[in-house]
């Protein structure tokens, strides 16, 4: 009897966990979709941005803002550890995003000069000048 309860408890925990993961996954999908559709993109400052002229739903805006808040927290923590400014830490991450790259072909990104570009299969990404080799 007791054992059955324990098993039920484990099963419930598993369900709750998978539900949480599903929500996280859903968030990713919305952002990934928006990237692919050219509504949002990576910026040279290390944050996500809205492509001008794109119709941004309140839901999407909220998700992007939330994503940027989380990024900022990460940058701030690491910047404090390394005694650099938050902007420098953010720029260093942007370099990784642009150079690795974490921008897929067809996605839009905002270069150092503030202009929005689209990554195409043939052309190199416009990597910020402050990035190393």
């Amino acid at each position: 009897m007791k054992r059955r309860f324990v098993l039920a408890g484990i099963a419930a925990l598993g369900l709750a966990l998978s539900a949480t993961l599903a929500v996280a996954q859903a968030t990713d999908t919305v952002l990934a979709q928006a990237r692919a559709n050219g509504l949002i993109g990576e910026q040279a400052d290390g944050y996500l941005g809205f492509v001008p002229g794109a119709a941004i739903s309140a839901d999407l805006r909220g998700r992007v803002d939330q994503n940027n808040i989380q990024r900022r927290q990460l940058y701030t923590r690491r910047a404090t550890e390394r005694s650099v400014s938050v902007n420098e830490m953010a720029a260093a991450v942007a370099c990784e995003v642009f150079q690795r790259p974490r921008i897929a072909v067809g996605e839009r990104y905002r270069n150092e000069a503030g202009q929005w570009r689209q990554r195409t299969a043939g052309a190199d990404i416009d990597v910020p000048s402050f990035c190393g080799e």
Binding site: R78, R82, A91, A92, C95, V97, R102, S129, F130
Partner: protein, 66 residues
């Protein structure tokens, strides 16, 4: 004769001295990129941290694409 020579020499020296030394200001303002250099140095130093942040938080960033 000697005096004349000296005079002309003096005149030449004077004339030479009078040639305005042209120091042309450059058309474009001199750019001091010190700020950029310091920045790049810092960013290169942070490369490993940045890569680690990306790897540990891949849910916040786009997927890796070759």
């Amino acid at each position: 004769m000697r005096a004349a020579l000296l005079t002309s020499l003096g005149a030449a020296v004077l004339a030479a001295g009078c040639i305005p030394v042209q120091i042309q200001a450059p058309d474009e303002p001199i750019e001091i990129n010190l700020n950029v250099n310091i920045r790049q140095e810092v960013i290169v130093r942070l490369e490993r941290d940045a890569a680690e942040l990306l790897d540990q938080n891949s849910d916040l960033f786009g997927g890796t694409t070759p």
